[in-house]
C-alpha cells in the first residue's frame, strides 16, 4: 500500500514539478535577461521621497464564459470552430438559442457573470518605492452565484482590501480585520519611473512638434522602421489600423486552434490622432480570437494629468471584450468581460 502511495505521489509530484520547472525557467530567463532590479523592499529604512506618480482606478466589471451562439458571436464562428462545437451536445444546443428568456441549464458556474467593483490607488515615490491599496467595494448581494452554495464564503473571511506597503502585503476582511499578512519582495520602481518620465516628456514634445508642423502622426509613423510583417492601414473615417504579428511561447501558447500553424496577428484600430484605441483584435489567419471595443466619455477622471488641457489622450469609460477560449473538453466558448471605469488616471507630480 505504501508503495502504491509513494508511486502515485511521485507521479503527481513529477507533473507538478514539470509545470513549476517550466514556469521557473521562464521567469528566471525573463528576470535575469532583463536585469530587473529586484530589491528586498524593506523600504521603511529608505527615504521614500515625494510622490512622483499616482495611479487611480475605479472599475465596475462583469465577466462570464458562455457557449458560442450564432446571434451573438457570429464573427468567431469558422468551419473549424463549428466542427468543435458540433462535438458537444450542450454547445450545440446553445449555438442556435434565441432569446434570453428561455429556461435553460447552466452547465458550468463560469457561465454566470460575476460582478465586481474595485477601487485601486498606487503611489510611486521619487525613490522608486511603490505603495498600493486595492479595495473590493462590490455590494454584498450583487452576485447570485454566492447564493448557489450551501456555505458561501462569509464576509469576515473574504478579502476586501489589500495594501502593499513597507515590504509587506496585508489583506483585510469585509469587517476590516487583518486576515493575512506576509512579506512581499518589492521591486524598486525607479526604472519604471524614469522610463515613464522620459516617454511622457517625449510624447509631449512629439505633440508640440506635431502642432508646430503640419505633418500627421500617421506620416511620421510611416517613416519609422516597422516591425517585420507589420502594416498600417488608413480607414476612410480617418482611423488608423496597425497590423502586426505577435510572438507566443510555443510551449504554453494560450491562443490558437490545435493544428493551425498560422502566426497570430493583432489588429489595433486607433483614432486619427493615434492617441487612443478604438478596437483591438487578435486573429490567427482569418480566425478571430479576441475582440475588444472601447467607448470614451468626457469624464475628467479618465484623463491623465499630463493631458488635462488640450491634448486628446484619455482612458476609455467602457470596454467590452470577447475572447475565444477552449474548455477542458476542447469545446470553444466565449469569455466576455464588460468593464466600466468610473476613474482611470495617472497623476504626475513632475
Amino acid at each position: 500500500m505504501k508503495k502504491i502511495n509513494e508511486y502515485l505521489t511521485a507521479i503527481l509530484e513529477t507533473q507538478i514539478n514539470r509545470l513549476l520547472l517550466l514556469v521557473s525557467v521562464i521567469f528566471s530567463l525573463t528576470l535575469s535577461s532583463c536585469n530587473n532590479n529586484i530589491l528586498d523592499n524593506s523600504n521603511s529604512k529608505i527615504e521614500k521621497g515625494d510622490v512622483a506618480i499616482e495611479i487611480f482606478s475605479h472599475i465596475q466589471s462583469a465577466n462570464r464564459t458562455e457557449f458560442i451562439n450564432k446571434n451573438k458571436h457570429s464573427d468567431f464562428i469558422s468551419d473549424k470552430v463549428l466542427s468543435l462545437v458540433s462535438s458537444n451536445k450542450q454547445a450545440m444546443m446553445r449555438l442556435n438559442k434565441i432569446g434570453a428568456n428561455e429556461i435553460d441549464t447552466i452547465v458550468s458556474l463560469e457561465e454566470i457573470p460575476i460582478y465586481k467593483e474595485t477601487i485601486t490607488a498606487t503611489k510611486i515615490y521619487s525613490s522608486g518605492i511603490m505603495e498600493s491599496e486595492i479595495q473590493d467595494v462590490t455590494p454584498d448581494d450583487m452576485n447570485p452565484i454566492n447564493s448557489f452554495t450551501a456555505n458561501p464564503l462569509p464576509i469576515e473571511s473574504t478579502i476586501k482590501k489589500t495594501i502593499i506597503e513597507g515590504g509587506m502585503i496585508k489583506s483585510y476582511s469585509g469587517i476590516g480585520e487583518l486576515i493575512h499578512s506576509e512579506s512581499y519582495v518589492g521591486q524598486n520602481m525607479k526604472q519604471f519611473l524614469d522610463t515613464v518620465k522620459y516617454y511622457v516628456a517625449l510624447s509631449e514634445e512629439s505633440q508640440e512638434k506635431k502642432q508646430m508642423n503640419s505633418e500627421s502622426q500617421l506620416n511620421k509613423i510611416k517613416k519609422q522602421k516597422m516591425p517585420a510583417g507589420a502594416k498600417i492601414i488608413e480607414l476612410s473615417n480617418g482611423n488608423v489600423v496597425l497590423e502586426q504579428f505577435i510572438e507566443t511561447n510555443k510551449n504554453t501558447a494560450s491562443f490558437s486552434i490545435k493544428g493551425s500553424s498560422e502566426r497570430l496577428r493583432t489588429r489595433t484600430e486607433l483614432n486619427p490622432e493615434m492617441t487612443k484605441t478604438i478596437k483591438f483584435e487578435i486573429l490567427q489567419g482569418e480566425q478571430l480570437f479576441e475582440r475588444r471595443t472601447y467607448f470614451y466619455s468626457e469624464n475628467k477622471l479618465l484623463k491623465n494629468s499630463k493631458y488635462a488641457v488640450n491634448l486628446p489622450n484619455e482612458n476609455p469609460e467602457v470596454v467590452k471584450s470577447e475572447v475565444l477560449v477552449f474548455n477542458r473538453q476542447g469545446v470553444p466558448m466565449i469569455k466576455t468581460t464588460q468593464e466600466r471605469y468610473l476613474r482611470n488616471q495617472m497623476i504626475f507630480h513632475f
Partner: protein
C-alpha cells in the same frame, strides 16, 4: 484474613465482575487506510481498559466491506463476550453495519462520516476527474502567465522596465498560488491515492456498487446513531489542511487541535497577490500609453497587457469561487435547481449594434458614450453546491429512518471528514451518545 473480611472481599469481587459484565464495551473501527501505522485511532486505546473499550484494526484496502466484517469475529473483538457498541469512522461504519447480522452481542451502532450511499469522490478519483480541479487552476494560471509574458515582451525596453510591477507579481504568484495548487493536488492525491486503484473495497464504496444497493435494504435491528460532518466554505482547502498535517493529527497531544485552516494563509496569499497582479496590469496598461504615442507599435503590446489582466480576473474568480464549487461537484455535492437570478450587464442606451458604434460611422470616438448597468434576470437550472464534509456529502451519509428502525442522523457542523473521530466536538458527541440521554431514545438504548 478473618472470615468477615474474606466475605467482604468476595462480595466486592462479585460486584466488580457483575458491573463489568453489565457494561457495554465500545469497539472502535477505523476507516479506509486506518490500519496503517501510526493511525489516528491508536490514540483512543489509551482511554480504555480491555473491558470497556478497544480499537480494532482490519485490513481495509484490499478487502471488501463484507470480508473485512467477516474477519472481525466476536472472539477477536470481544474476548470477554460483553455486549458491545460499535463506533466506526467512514468505511468503519459500513464494516460495523455488515458485522451486525453475525454478532448478537452488538447492541448499538455509532458511525461518523460513513458513505452509506456510496462515495462520488471515489468514482471521480478512479476516473481521474478529481485532479482536474487543481489542473484547471494550474492551467488558468499558466494561460494568464503566458499572456502576461507574451504581452510584456519583457526583454525589449521600454516595455520591460514599465512592465516591472507585473513581473514582480508573477514571480510572487509562482511562489504562492501555483505551489499551493501543486501541494493541494499532491496532498489530496496522496490522501486519496488508494481510491484511484480499483480494489474490492473501492468497488464497494462506489455509489453504484452492489454492496451499496444491497445495504439500502438492510434492516438495522439495533439503535443507530449516524453522524455526518458539515464543513464550512472552502472545504477543499480545509481538507487539504488536515491531510497536510496528518503527522500532527495522529499525535495524541494534538487530539483536540484543528488543522483545517492551516492552508487558508496560502489561499489568502494567492488571492492578495492575484489582486496585486491585476492592479499592476492596469498600472502598466495606463503607463504604456506614453511610449505608444511615440512608438505606435506598442499599442498592441499595451492591449495584450489588458488581455492578460482579464485572464488574471479569471484566475481570481477560480481561486475564490469556482474551484470550490468544482471540487464540491467531485464529491457529489451538487444538484441542479431551477433558480431565478439577476446579474449586472452593461447596456448601451441606444440599441445600435456594437460594431457600428465603434466603426466611427455612427458616433465618433470622442463622443460621449451613454449606457448603464442593468440588472438582467434569468431563470435557469443552475448547479448548486450542497453541504459536504470535504469528502462526502451529507446526503451520502444519511440513512433514511425507515419504519421500525431506531436511527438518528446527527449533523455536526464545522468538522471535516478527516477530523471526525478525533476532534473535540466529535468526542463530545460520542460521550453524549454513551453517557447521556440528551439525544433521547437512541442514546438511552445505547447506554
Amino acid at each position: 484474613m478473618n472470615q468477615k473480611k474474606y466475605m467482604l472481599l468476595c462480595l466486592l469481587v462479585l460486584v466488580i465482575i457483575s458491573s463489568v459484565n453489565g457494561q457495554k464495551k465500545v469497539v472502535w473501527l477505523h476507516g479506509l487506510q486506518g490500519d496503517q501505522t501510526p493511525s489516528t485511532w491508536d490514540m483512543y486505546q489509551t482511554h480504555f481498559t480491555s473491558t470497556n473499550g478497544q480499537v480494532v484494526k482490519y485490513a481495509s484496502v484490499f478487502n471488501s466491506v463484507k470480508s473485512a466484517a467477516a474477519s472481525l469475529t466476536n472472539e477477536k473483538i470481544n474476548p470477554s463476550n460483553q455486549d458491545i457498541i460499535l463506533v466506526g469512522h467512514s468505511m468503519g461504519g459500513l464494516v460495523s453495519r455488515s458485522m451486525l447480522p453475525n454478532n448478537s452481542k452488538i447492541k448499538g451502532l455509532i458511525s461518523a462520516g460513513s458513505p452509506n450511499q456510496g462515495s462520488n469522490l471515489i468514482a471521480n478519483a478512479i476516473n481521474g476527474k478529481v485532479f482536474n480541479v487543481f489542473e484547471t487552476g494550474v492551467s488558468k494560471s499558466s494561460v494568464a502567465i503566458d499572456k502576461s509574458l507574451t504581452a510584456a515582451v519583457f526583454c525589449a525596453p521600454p516595455v520591460s522596465t514599465i512592465a516591472a510591477p507585473v513581473a514582480l507579481g508573477l514571480n510572487a504568484f509562482k511562489n504562492t498560488a501555483l505551489v499551493g495548487l501543486g501541494v493541494a493536488k499532491s496532498v489530496i492525491g496522496d490522501a486519496i491515492s488508494v481510491y484511484t486503484t480499483i480494489t474490492p473495497c473501492t468497488q464497494d464504496l462506489l455509489p453504484s456498487s452492489s454492496y451499496v444497493k444491497e445495504s439500502q435494504s438492510q434492516y438495522i435491528n439495533v439503535p443507530y446513531l449516524n453522524i455526518y460532518g458539515a464543513e464550512d466554505y472552502w472545504q477543499v482547502v480545509r481538507i487539504a489542511g488536515s491531510f497536510l498535517n496528518m503527522d500532527k493529527v495522529k499525535k495524541a497531544e494534538n487530539m483536540d487541535v484543528s488543522y483545517d485552516e492551516s492552508c487558508f494563509p496560502t489561499m489568502y496569499s494567492a488571492l492578495s497577490i492575484t489582486s496585486q497582479i491585476q492592479t499592476a496590469h492596469n498600472d502598466v496598461y495606463q503607463a504604456l500609453v506614453y511610449p505608444a504615442i511615440v512608438m505606435p507599435w506598442i499599442w498592441a503590446t499595451r492591449e495584450l497587457v489588458l488581455s492578460a489582466r482579464y485572464d488574471w480576473d479569471g484566475v481570481y474568480r477560480y481561486l475564490e469561487t469556482d474551484m470550490h464549487n468544482n471540487f464540491a461537484s467531485m464529491v457529489g455535492a451538487n444538484a441542479y435547481e431551477l433558480r431565478s437570478y439577476c446579474v449586472e450587464e452593461w447596456v448601451e442606451d441606444d440599441n445600435l449594434p456594437l460594431l457600428e458604434r465603434v466603426s466611427g460611422k455612427i458616433i465618433s470616438p470622442s463622443q460621449p458614450t451613454t449606457g448603464h448597468w442593468e440588472r438582467v434576470c434569468h431563470t435557469s437550472y443552475v448547479p448548486v453546491t450542497l453541504e459536504h464534509d470535504g469528502i462526502l456529502t451529507s446526503k451520502a451519509v444519511i440513512v433514511p429512518e425507515s419504519k421500525g428502525m431506531k436511527i438518528m442522523n446527527v449533523r455536526v457542523p464545522h468538522v471535516n471528514h478527516q477530523e471526525m473521530g478525533n476532534q473535540i466536538e466529535m468526542r463530545k458527541i460520542f460521550e453524549k451518545a454513551y453517557n447521556s440521554d440528551q439525544y433521547g431514545q437512541i442514546f438511552n438504548l445505547l447506554k
